[in-house]
């Protein structure tokens, strides 16, 4: 199957699901709507002709001040055809995204990472906790409004009281 056929098959089974499609440097990028998202992902995994059995990664990007603010990227791979496609989903701030952990177990930690570093939450995730930062950490470091350096970085401090002078 060619990449175009994959896209045709998606469009035929989910009319109206594909918002945008592009090819860049030999890779297919497909933006889908949130309404069809979960069924579409299930279809990509289960369908006999597509069989995207490996979920490689989930990456989120903060496009502030754009609207919707975030974009999620699901990188899928089909072992049978050695084909990679990339599914994109636009996410508003505070919006819940359905988890795909029941389709691919591999989604577990990447979803937790997106939740931790960007603050996008996933409904239906079995154990949505922070993963790279600690439990009572405040803020989401990969958001663009999060500073690169803390305010006490490189400041002089009094060794007895450990207070910044």
């Amino acid at each position: 199957m060619e990449n175009a056929e994959v896209l045709d098959r998606i469009k035929k089974n989910f009319p109206g699901a594909v918002v945008e499609e592009s090819r860049f440097r030999g890779e297919s990028w497909i933006t889908v709507t949130k309404n069809h998202f979960l069924e579409l992902m299930k279809f990509l995994h289960d369908d006999d002709l597509l069989r995207f059995d490996l979920l490689l990664d989930i990456a989120g990007t903060d496009y502030t001040p754009g609207s919707p603010r975030f974009e999620l990227v699901y990188i899928l791979f089909s072992m049978e055809d050695s084909r990679r496609i990339i599914i994109k989903l636009k996410v508003n701030e505070g919006e819940d995204i359905p988890s795909v952990t029941h389709i691919w177990k591999a989604a577990d930690w990447p979803e937790r990472e997106v939740f931790d570093l960007l603050g996008i939450s996933f409904s239906g995730h079995p154990d949505l906790r922070r993963i790279l930062t600690w439990d009572n950490f405040e803020g989401h470091p990969l958001r663009k409004d999060y500073p690169l350096l803390g305010k006490d970085f490189d400041e002089k401090f009094d060794p007895d009281t450990i207070e910044i002078v």
Partner: protein
Amino acid sequence: MAEAKTMTLNMGPHHPATHGVLRLVLELDGETIVKVTPHIGQLHRGIEKIAESMNYQQIIPLTDRLDYTAASLNNLGYCMTVEKLLGIDVPRRAQYVRVIMGELARIMGHHLWLGSHALDMGAMTVVFYTFRDREMIMNVNEELSGYRLTPSFLRVGGIARDITPDFVKYVREFVKWLPKALDGYHTLLTDNIIWRKRTMGVGTVSARDAVNYGMTGPSLRGSGVAYDVRKALPYSSYDDFDFQVPVGENGDVYDRYLVRMEEFKQSIRIIDQAIENLPDGPVKVDNPLVSNPETDEVMQDISALIRRFKIQCEGPAVPEGEVYHSIEGSKGELGFYLVGDGTSKPYRMKIRSPCFILTSALPKLLVGHMIADVISIIGSIDIVLGEIDR
């Protein structure tokens, strides 16, 4: 009747067998594991966030610090992703040198895995032999770049400078030596009854589960799935070389061990072919927006001087767009997702770390086993915490 109770045991983060700072909370029924909760993040340095404030060439040393046991492979994955975004092809000589360095790094990573895996399980001798041979690769790295563990020798658009005659000599010596050393490793472990008893039938995972859990690399191939990025989507002239992808059958610790042992041999075959057929030509792409001009040129030509100044200060000019590219790292599929916004700094860099996903599959591998098997199973999936925590 006595109430059934489980005991909670905290393992790590400073346990020597967790290969860094991995903390596992094990729930035990007697000596059997009923639940595992891995806790990671103790080594989190925010590499993805730092990368957003650096230009594309400056990020290369950061990538060395991901999987520091096989540093050149991380350089390769990163540089190829930026080159994909730029839409440039690297000269063939540079591609071959990258392959040699990458495969040497893979062997280096496997050396560390074999030594520490056996050491964790009580077979102390192996680590002396693997570290003796790992030293030879470190010398190759030192000859080429001046650094032993983290060479940072690759650049966006090629390699830092052309190779030296001594490099070729050292690599040839190593290619000749390793098969003999490998026989030694096999003598110590492969038919050793203690080794077999501790690894066979332990940590078994079926091919279907392994794929669903996102396992890649030797850990997946141990379950019999012949997925290798070098074969599936060849990059950096890997389709020029003749090599095989070893697979296991049972998906247990022993099969993952055999797969990695065979990978030593295949890597040596690739290095041998690459060093003997090394093409002539430039080692940097001929693109004024990416590559530094040569020093002779800078000394004589004012425009070359300006170009060099601009590239050094601002970094290469990278177009807008987003790409994903992956290579076969020593632990599995190492991918980079890059978003460029037209400036010389990436808007977003996401690292697809094979160890991160492998560690998320640990509960699946561990539950039902004895507590002593934890050590052998962690060793068999070969994780490096620098890459998990990033």
